[in-house]
């Protein structure tokens, strides 16, 4: 043990800068060494800390899977829900109390496979929630099965000879359905990811940040890609930042180039904006706006 890491009587009581944002009584977390999720949680905590939004007004909702565990570590009102249903659960939280800033953090399988229908409808309605989709290209919690994001030819436990199903392009899906903000970063790009989280949270309406993360235990091992660290090195060498790129061009091929950036930023009326505006027109002065003093 080096001197720097030795816990002494002087250092043991020093607060960690994220003590107020993380549930320290739940540490250590369950994620594998070199998994990207710790970085995502750090970036989210930083973004929340800097946002100026009182932490009491923030709610985090997760589904099921490795990323599903995020809700359990962030010290705000946090909900670990059912597989695929984080978005409709978050929709209910937001609609019933529009003052809450509701953030969904879940995985690619949870949000895009079992929860795919909810994803597209929340984007279509422009429900004012932020969705962080952590994409590790595989079902990790259950042991490495193929996901709707697994690149063609990549190996998965249920595609033992390589994947032959074309994957979803998540930013294109969100864009097509009307999302107000769409970005993609990798867990290597910590500062840009943190900025994107802050921007997404500040954008009224449905905002999506996809974060490409390494899964060393399953995706990397099954595909002989080394460790999570090797994947970060791969991101370093193969990620290209193209803000405003046409979302149709954002497919991710197996070990191919990954395009990152902020692709969409187009505020448009949210579900509740439309509800209040429309009922205001229909009922006139008799209508008491639902959202009231939010703005």
């Amino acid at each position: 043990m080096t001197e720097e890491t030795t816990v002494t009587e002087e250092t043991q009581d020093v607060a960690h800068p994220m003590d107020d944002l993380l549930r320290m009584d739940r540490m250590p977390h369950i994620w594998c060494p070199t998994c990207g999720l710790g970085t995502v949680v750090t970036a989210l905590a930083l973004a929340l800390g800097k946002s100026g939004i009182p932490l009491d007004d923030i709610a985090v909702v997760s589904g099921i899977g490795c990323t599903g565990r995020v809700a359990g570590y962030i010290k705000v009102d946090s909900f670990h829900t059912t597989h695929g249903r984080a978005i409709p659960f978050a929709t209910g939280l937001h609609l019933a109390n529009p003052k809450l800033k509701v953030i969904v953090v879940s995985g690619d399988g949870d949000l895009i496979a079992i929860g795919g229908n909810h994803f597209i409808h929340a984007a279509r309605r422009n429900v004012d929630i932020t969705v962080i989709c952590v994409n590790n290209f595989i079902y990790a919690m259950t042991g490495g099965q193929v996901a709707p994001t697994t690149p063609l030819t990549a190996n998965a436990s249920t595609m033992p000879y390589g994947n032959f199903e074309p994957p979803f392009n998540i930013p294109h899906l969100a864009d097509s359905c009307g999302a107000a903000y769409v970005a993609r970063w990798s867990s290597l790009h910590v500062r840009r990811m943190t900025t994107a989280f802050a921007e997404a949270i500040a954008t009224p309406g449905f905002s999506l940040v996809e974060v490409v993360t390494p899964c060393s235990t399953l995706y990397a091992r099954r595909n002989r890609l080394g460790t999570g660290l090797d994947l970060l090195k791969f991101y370093h060498d193969n990620c290209e930042i193209q803000h405003g790129a046409d979302t149709r061009s954002l497919n991710i091929d197996f070990q191919g180039k990954i395009t990152l950036g902020k692709f969409i930023e187009r505020p448009r009326p949210t579900f509740l904006d439309r509800l209040d505006n429309w009922y205001g027109q229909v009922f006139g002065d008799k209508y008491e706006p639902y959202v009231g003093d939010r703005k």
């Binding site: 009102d77 946090s78 409709p88 209910g92 609609l95 019933a96 109390n97 509740l272 639902y290």
Partner: protein
Amino acid sequence: MKADPKGVLTGAHYLDGDHAAAEGALAAGCRFLAGYPITPSTEVAERFAARIPKVGGGVFIQMEDELASMAAILGGAWAGKKSMTVTSGPGFSLMMENLGLGIMMEVPLVLINVQRGGPSTGLPTLPGQADMMQARWGSHGDYEIIAICPSSPQEAFDYMITAFNFSEKYRVPTLVMMDECVGHMTEKVVIPPADEIEITPRKEYTGPPEEYLPYLPDKDMIPWMTKAGDGTRFHTTGLTHDEKGYPVMNADCQETLVRRLVDKIRTNADEIAILEEEEIDGADVVLISYGISSRVAIPAIERARREGLKVGSLRLVTVWPFPETRVRELAKNVKALVIPEMNYGQVYYEIERCAAGNARTVLVPHAGGWVHDVDDIYAGIKEGLK
């Protein structure tokens, strides 16, 4: 606590059961309904959607499916609004997933199932009572739940308020198991003034936020609740959890949690039970029924009585938790229990179990699609007396 007058449409109305249920929900203070259209329940959502912008302070949203509807009302309830959804058989099957989450997270909410004939798509426009066991056991895992069966539009109104009150008192999703006949029959419904409607408030935590333990049970086994935004910064999960709401993966925690989820309802079963009894004393045979079947049974009972037979009636307004104490007692004092239900034996088997050989049990089955023929129920009574 009394009802908020904004949601109470005081007066005498001519309403069908679905519309009456929507009014009952509004009177109970429900301000969030997330639903998906399905016959024969849709009119509940339609009425709510039309009324909520006028009542104010609430939202109706038509979700993309029943999975989403159930998930959304869990969120709605955690955000502090009284929340509900409504469906029929096929949608009820989809809602089982998040009904389980509601049970695990102990969320007060109301789910109406206007039952139709099944299985599968079955008879969308015609009645059934064949989801009664699904109501009890439909979501995976072990739990207890509350289910109420109204038999008229007036009761659809009245018992929606009871359902919300039970759900708050016991922190458990409460089911209102109507059927197509009750949902679509139109009758007089009297809505009382708001100050005559008793509302059970949420069991709110009022202590220091930093000391809050979301699943620390009170003496009555029910934990105190907060809502998102209250400053307690709580965690809740569908995983087996401790008093902090944190996941704990072992048999001891599972035992403590599941036992409490079961016991908080089971030990209060007698208090929850709503039963209507008629001419039980001295009866040779007692007809046990619920929902629309209770009303269809009336002419059969009257005919038997005209012939001098001693027939009593026990109507189960609450079917779950099963009113075991009363049925066990009854079985010791009569020759037979006769059970007409629109299925091939569901609640019947609970009654047979509780009768424990002390009285004959006679099932008068019906596959659904229409109500029982009065003659069949009468024949069931005669069969019981053989």
